[in-house]
Symmetry: C2
Subunit: 340 residues, 2 copies
C-alpha cells in the first residue's frame, strides 16, 4: 500500500481547523513543520489564526487566497481567516468557536468545489458544540456531501491506514438496529462506491473486496443467524455477476490478520465497530477517514477533538499528516482516472 | 505479559489430538520437536497413534500412563491410545475419527480431574463430525465444564495472546440476539469469573478489567443505544462497589491499540466478534483459548481443524505451543494461588 507523493500542478489543499479549542490547530501546525520530512503537499489552514497562535510559536501568515498560500507555504503556515472565534482557551469549547469551525468547513468545501483548492482535509469538530449553533448533519461527512450535491447514501466513509482499508455498511446506529438496516441494495451500493472509490482515489484499477459476515463465524451455515444466507451472500453474488472481484461473507474475526489482509484492497463491514475495531487496533495513530463518492477529495484524521489534551503540546500529528498525504495521493489518482 | 515457564513437580499435560483428520496430530508433533527450544512442559498425546504416524516420521511411543509418558518425553512423543480411528486420511473426517476425538477428550479430562495430568490442552475438533456421533454440547468447553461438574455459565472462555486477553460476555449467538442476552447479572458473572481467573491462572492478584460498550462510541450518551446506560454501566458500578478494578463502558474501537491495552489485564466484550476481531488481528498465530472457572487447567489453540491443509505439513504449531506454555504457567500459578 505504498503511495506516491509526487505532487504536480495542483493548487494547495484547504485544511479546516475544526474546533479552535480542540487539537486541530496544533496538529495542523505540527504537520506544517514536517512538510518536507514527510513530503506533504502545499496546504493552508482555514479558520481563526488566533487558534493557531494560542498553541504554537512558529511562523503563521494570514492569506487571502490559495494562490497566496502556495507562495508563502515554504516559509510560514498560511491561514485564511474566516471568522473570529473570540477568546480561545484550548480544551474549553465555546459557541464562537463552534461557529468558526462551521464556517471553516463551509469555506474549505467551497474552495475545493471551485477548484481553487486541490481538496479538503478536515480537522476534528465537537459535534455537541456544532449542534448548538444550528448544524443539523450527523457529521462533517454528511455536510460535505450535501454541499457537493451528493446524497448521503452515496457518500461513503472509508477508514484507511497503512495496513488496512475498511468501509462500514451501516455507521452511526445502535447495534440492535444493524440487522434490520442491512439490505441487498445497501450492500450493493456500498460495494460499488468502494470499488469505484478505490480506482478513483487509490489508483487501484481492479479492486479486490472482502465482505464480512454479520454473525459469529459468518453465521455457521445459518445456525448462528441467517443474514448471511438471505442478504449478504445474494448481494455478493449479484455484485460478482456485475464483474466485481469480491469474496465473502467471511468470518469477521479471521479477516484482519496480516496474511488475510494481503488478499483484498478493502473490507466491507456490516457495522461501525466491525470496521473500526480492526483499523484502530492496527493503525490508531495514522488512520484516515476518506469520503468516497464525492466530486472533491476529502480526508480527515480518524480521531476527535481531544479537548482533554488540547493546549498541552502533546497531540500526535500522525493521522493529520497521513490525511494530508492521502489527500495528495487521491488528487493525483483522480487526474489519472479522469484522463483514463 | 511475559510468563515464567519454570515447571516444578507437575505431572505431564494431556493433549487430546482432536479430529485425527485435522491438523491436531501435526501441530502436536511439531510442538514436541520444539519442546526444548520453547521450554514446553512434558506432555503426552491422547488419541490414536496412527493419526500422528500418518503425518509425521519422528519418534512416537505408545504409553499406558502419564508416569510412563513423563519418562519417555525426552526421547519420543508419548501417545496414550484410546481408540482406533480406522483408516486416517488427513483432510477427510470420518465417523470413526469423530468417535476417537470424543474419546480423547473424555480420557484427557478424566486424567486431569484425577490429578494424573497437570491439565489438558485440546486440539481442534470438527463440530459437525462430533454432533454426528452423539456429542450434544455446543463445543469442547461446555463438555469439559460438565465433566468437571461446573455449570456452563460459570465456565468462561478467555482468548489470550502475547498482547491481549479478551472475554466475550455472549458467545455463539446471532448478532441480533446479543442485545436481549445482555443482563447486569451476566456481565457481573463474567467479570467476577474473569477477575478470579486472572488471579488463579495468570498470577495477577489485582486484575484490571476494561469493559466494552455494545454500541458505536459506547452509545454516545444514549444517542446510539441505551444498553450502556441501562445494563453495562450499572453492572460496572456494582462490580466496583464489590472492589473490582474495572472501567467502562468504553468505545470498543478505541480499546485495542497498544497504549490502550497497557491499561488493563483483560477486556470484557459484549459479543463474539467484538472480542475475537482484536485478538485474532493481533495474535492470529499464537492465540490461546483458556477456560476460566474450572477445577482443572484447560487451554486450546484458538483455531479450527483446518481440514483443507491437513496432511500438507504446512500447519503452524504456534498456537499449540502457546497453549502448552499457557497451561504450564496456569498450573504453576494455581499452586501459588492455592498456597496463598
Amino acid at each position: 500500500m505504498t503511495q506516491s507523493s509526487i505532487i504536480t500542478d495542483l493548487p494547495p489543499f484547504a485544511v479546516s481547523l475544526g474546533d479552535p479549542a480542540g487539537i486541530g490547530p496544533e496538529i495542523v501546525a505540527k504537520s506544517w513543520v514536517m512538510r518536507e520530512a514527510r513530503s506533504l503537499p502545499p496546504f493552508f489552514a482555514v479558520g481563526d489564526i488566533q487558534s493557531i497562535r494560542a498553541v504554537w510559536l512558529g511562523p503563521v501568515a494570514k492569506v487571502e487566497s490559495p494562490e497566496e498560500a502556495a507562495e508563502i507555504f515554504d516559509r510560514a503556515l498560511p491561514c485564511m481567516q474566516v471568522a473570529d472565534a473570540g477568546e480561545i482557551i484550548p480544551g474549553t469549547p465555546s459557541i464562537d468557536g463552534a461557529r468558526t469551525a462551521f464556517q471553516s468547513l463551509e469555506v474549505a468545501v467551497g474552495l475545493a468545489r471551485s477548484g481553487s483548492a486541490a481538496g479538503i482535509v478536515t480537522a476534528p469538530v465537537g459535534k455537541e458544540q456544532l449542534y448548538s449553533v444550528g448544524f443539523t448533519h450527523p457529521g462533517q461527512t454528511e455536510f460535505v456531501a450535501e454541499r457537493c450535491g451528493v446524497s448521503r447514501d452515496n457518500a461513503v466513509m472509508m477508514l484507511a491506514g497503512p495496513s488496512l482499508r475498511v468501509v462500514p455498511v451501516t455507521v452511526h446506529i445502535s447495534l440492535a438496529a444493524v440487522p434490520a438496516a442491512l439490505t441487498v441494495e445497501l450492500i450493493r451500493a456500498r460495494a460499488l462506491a468502494t470499488a469505484k472509490g478505490l480506482h478513483r482515489n487509490f489508483h487501484i484499477a481492479s479492486p479486490r473486496l472482502a465482505v464480512a459476515g454479520l454473525n459469529p463465524h459468518a453465521g455457521e451455515g445459518g445456525a448462528l443467524g441467517r443474514e448471511e444466507i438471505e442478504i449478504i451472500r445474494p448481494a455478493i453474488e449479484s455484485l460478482r455477476e456485475d464483474g466485481l472481484d469480491i469474496v465473502g461473507p467471511l468470518a469477521a474475526d479471521g479477516m484482519f490478520h496480516a496474511r488475510a489482509r494481503e488478499t483484498y484492497d478493502a473490507a466491507l463491514c456490516m457495522y461501525h465497530d466491525q470496521a473500526l475495531i480492526p483499523i484502530k487496533t492496527l493503525n490508531f495513530d495514522e488512520g484516515v477517514n476518506i469520503t468516497l463518492g464525492l466530486p472533491i477529495v476529502r480526508t480527515s484524521p480518524d480521531h476527535g477533538t481531544a479537548f482533554g489534551i488540547a493546549g498541552s503540546d502533546s497531540a500526535n500529528p500522525g493521522a493529520m499528516i497521513a490525511a494530508l498525504r492521502m489527500a495528495a495521493d487521491a488528487a493525483q489518482a483522480r487526474i489519472t482516472y479522469a484522463a483514463g
